[in-house]
Assembly symmetry: C2
DNA sequence: CCTCTATTTAATCGATTGTTAGATTAAATA
DNA sequence: TATTTAATCTAACAATCGATTAAATAGAGG
């Protein structure tokens, strides 16, 4: 709420790449909170200390700005992708693998919200063949589950659906912690996170156990 | 808790209720697809075959119309609430209980989407102490889990978090089936639903088993 | 028939939207 | 030093938003 002296300040006119990054930082938070239609370019510009024209100069249009935000999100997942060469096999390792996605969601809290929004608005507006961002993640998890099954350390679960079930629960949790902790009467957010993490891990380990499941 | 201003009590001349219901039908679909900010009253009015002024006459404002839609959603869950007197105890029964929520989500497909939207937009706009719609559901599931634990038929899981984990996965699934089935290369939607249901059930049963889980 | 009230519409309001044009500034280049 | 380019601003555009107003329509009771 302080639009005093937008950029001026430090003598230099504030180089371009920094402005661009700052706009993206602001935009991703506002888009996550209000959605695409619910966020105005002027809101973004004001909080980034620039004007709407600057946004247009750097990103072209609102849709392209939104696309740039989504691209950054997709990149942020890369470091959390499982390492390809040594494929884990036992249930605990697979659970630990999927838990890394929870780490990502907690490290980039509003990204999960944005991802959820995209999930809902995708079928509506036929975007230009945009890939689903979590698909490689889910495929990697499913591959790990399959590897465990071939080695006999993982029971006969549905690989893709199990991965999707878990990532869905994680995304849903990350996007709603604020509402949730008030709802479950939790004082500290850390407690909610701990309880969810434990529940997620227990759920995965129990399900992937070679003995359990499979009596259709 | 009703605004008694619009429809004046028990007057005879009511060609209105049908209009009102039809507007709600259209509104809930458009709100689910585009969100609150992304849906215009003119779009709703046009597809409902009325004008914007008629919407204002029946609902007062856009926010109140949205509230009316949410109220209908809350009502639609009631028949799917678990029966209170005979509390199920074994894992399979608890899983069947939670599966009813999946039934609800599949019966009212876009309701899950709207619920997800509300979940994200709630912390943003400080709504007037609106309760979370799924809270009674989750509490009922948690109570069933606790009952099973006291009877020794359910293992030492976190009751609320387990219920929340499951309902989160269900909501996420229901709101994204369209995207998902293309993503997992599924031909028929029924197949995706079947696979998810089985995975959900297996996950719950495996986790609630008295032997499993609990090695913190 | 007329009258009253509930319902709906057409027309319009002011505010806000994304976008654009032109001016201005600072740095880079020749 | 003169010129060009990059970056940002102010101001304004047409379009659309939710909301309002006054008038028209419909239907039942007398």
């Amino acid at each position: 709420m302080f639009d005093i002296e937008p950029a001026r300040r430090a003598g230099r006119p504030l180089g371009a790449p920094e402005t661009r990054r700052n706009c993206l930082d602001v935009a991703e938070r506002l888009f996550a909170a209000g959605g695409f239609a619910g966020t105005g370019l002027r809101d973004i510009a004001a909080r980034a200390g620039v004007t709407g024209a600057t946004l247009a100069y750097h990103f072209g249009s609102k849709e392209k700005l939104y696309g740039a935000v989504l691209a950054r999100i997709a990149d942020s997942i890369l470091p959390y992708l499982p390492p390809t060469p040594p494929m884990p096999s036992d249930p605990a390792s697979v659970a630990g693998l999927i838990e890394r996605f929870l780490d990502w969601a907690l490290d980039h809290r509003h990204y999960a919200t944005l991802l959820l929004r995209e999930l809902m608005e995708n079928p509506d507006r036929a975007r230009k063949a945009k890939r689903w961002y979590l698909l490689p993640l889910i495929e990697a998890y499913a591959a790990a589950i399959r590897a465990g099954q071939e080695r006999g350390t993982v029971g006969p679960v549905d690989p893709e659906m199990t991965a999707f079930h878990a990532t869905g629960a994680i995304t849903h949790f990350a996007a709603s912690t604020v509402t949730i902790q008030r709802m479950l009467a939790l004082d500290h957010e850390a407690e909610a996170v701990d309880r969810f993490r434990r529940t997620l891990r227990d759920s995965l380990v129990a399900m992937l156990a070679p003995a359990a499941a499979g009596e259709a």
